[in-house]
């Protein structure tokens, strides 16, 4: 650092390689970072900020990003859903029987988190602008080796030790590691199989009965069920089959849908 006044956060640095997976919306580090930036643009004290306006800006921002077909990380969508909920809580008066937190409380919580994040950024800046050792303050340039207590001939830190151990184990384990070959039913496969099995049957039959022969292989059970279920929903949507479940976790019955023309 040559400039003590450098604001480390003035220009968000391009994300480091290992952070990339979290940053995909214009260099923001997560939804809270984006919200804080939007809040700052209101150019008022964070305590006086309009949370409702902020929620709307965020939702609008995410909409624009999605219109441009930019991939948005799930985190941002979760925040969008939460803000939409917050917005509705702020606009609808609280019913007396309502157990859920009030919009005001949720808004205060958001404000608190924004203030806290901003405070931590500010303190990080203050720390970096302190007279730091090796930048404005110096230790003895020519230390004279003196035996203080019992000093070992060899130097190694606990960090070195742990890092070394981890590296070795990782190296060792990766050479031995062969990825598990999983059989996965594609949705298309599941759909074809299901349609073939149901055939012309207009009787209610549990899905597991249709799939009985495939479900015997333990390693495939999960994928067979999941893919078949997802495909069955699609078939229902297309009006090809009917689906029925009488109780939670009960068997799923399916049958061919009768078409209008007899």
């Amino acid at each position: 650092m040559t400039d003590t006044q450098t604001d480390w956060f003035d220009t968000p640095a391009p994300p480091a390689a290992d952070d990339v997976m979290y940053v995909d919306v214009g260099g923001y580090e997560g939804p809270l970072d984006l919200l804080l930036d939007l809040a700052r643009r209101q150019k008022v004290d964070l305590a006086a900020i309009s949370v409702l306006a902020l929620a709307e800006q965020y939702l609008a921002f995410i909409d624009t990003v999605r219109e441009k077909r930019i991939e948005v990380a799930a985190d941002y969508l979760v925040m969008a859903a939460w803000l939409a909920y917050l917005k509705s809580r702020l606009m609808v008066p609280k019913a007396p029987s309502d157990d859920e937190p009030s919009g005001e409380m949720l808004a205060a919580m958001l404000q608190f988190r924004l203030k806290r994040l901003e405070a931590m950024r500010h303190t990080a800046n203050q720390l970096m602008n302190r007279p730091r050792l090796g930048y404005q303050v110096y230790a003895r340039g020519m230390p004279e080796p003196i035996e203080i207590a019992r000093k070992s001939l060899w130097e190694a830190s606990l960090y070195d030790l742990l890092k070394t151990y981890s590296n070795q184990r990782e190296r060792g384990s990766i050479t031995e590691y062969t990825p598990l070959q999983r059989t996965v039913w594609s949705l298309q496969d599941a759909r074809d199989i299901l349609q073939r099995l149901i055939g012309e049957s207009f009787d209610w039959v549990p899905m597991d009965t249709y799939l009985a022969e495939y479900l015997t292989i333990p390693t495939e059970r999960a994928t067979v069920r999941a893919s078949s279920f997802a495909s069955s929903l699609e078939l229902v949507r297309q009006g090809k089959i009917d689906l029925r479940q009488t109780e939670t976790f009960g068997p799923l019955f399916m049958r061919r849908r009768r078409t209008e023309t007899p």
Partner: protein
């Protein structure tokens, strides 16, 4: 010169020699062995600190240790034209700040403040720099590891102790160091002691799976 002050002067000279010779801060207890019976190392160090208070080199306290460092006001003269070898990323800086002000802090707590998962390598990097260490485990389900800062952190940022962290009082006052909504009554302070009552020492066997 009285005999008493002659002894004291010699002890002060020994402390000067030890502290000047070492690049790293030294604990009073480490130096005491060189002072002879009955010497009060802490008193002597305070005397020495006063003597050097107006010099170009000051005696500073870093946690429980002491070191000679160039005076802060001369920094502009001494500044070497060297660049940070590896500037810290924003994520790392924020993480460092959160650990410093919220310690002992778990990874989940750090993530809660930042609102984003801590990328692999962030805490790792701070530990490599020698500023952050694993402290123990929080006595909560899952017994997560708690992180805190080191003496090297204090030394690097020129802090006598964690209570010197800039803006600490204001943040406390504003309730921003609390994990809960203001006005929460419970405001944790950075905790520097060995282990807090809700922390256990590190122990490899209980989370291994």
């Amino acid at each position: 010169m009285s005999e008493h002050s002659e002894v004291t002067e010699r002890q002060l000279r020994i402390l000067e020699a030890l502290l000047f010779a070492s690049a790293e801060p030294l604990a009073a207890s480490q130096m005491a062995t060189y002072l002879g019976e009955g010497a009060n190392a802490n008193e002597l160090l305070k005397t020495l600190q006063q003597r050097y208070a107006r010099r170009g080199v000051n005696l500073v306290r870093r946690g429980e240790k002491w070191a000679f460092r160039t005076a802060e006001d001369l920094g502009f003269l001494l500044r070497r034209e060297e660049q940070e070898t590896r500037p810290l990323s924003r994520a790392a800086l924020e993480t460092l700040s959160i650990i410093a002000y919220h310690q002992p802090a778990t990874r989940a707590e750090i993530e809660e403040v930042r609102g984003v998962a801590t990328g692999k390598g962030t805490i790792d990097l701070l530990m490599e720099a020698g500023w952050v260490r694993m402290r123990g485990r929080r006595r909560t389900p899952g017994r997560p590891v708690t992180y805190g800062t080191t003496d090297a952190f204090l030394d690097h940022f020129g802090l006598e102790s964690l209570s010197d962290l800039p803006g600490l009082e204001e943040l406390k006052g504003a309730g921003l160091l609390s994990g809960r909504l203001p006005p929460s009554m419970q405001i944790p302070l950075p905790f520097y002691g060995a282990l807090r009552e809700d922390e256990d020492p590190l122990d490899p066997d209980d989370t291994d799976d």
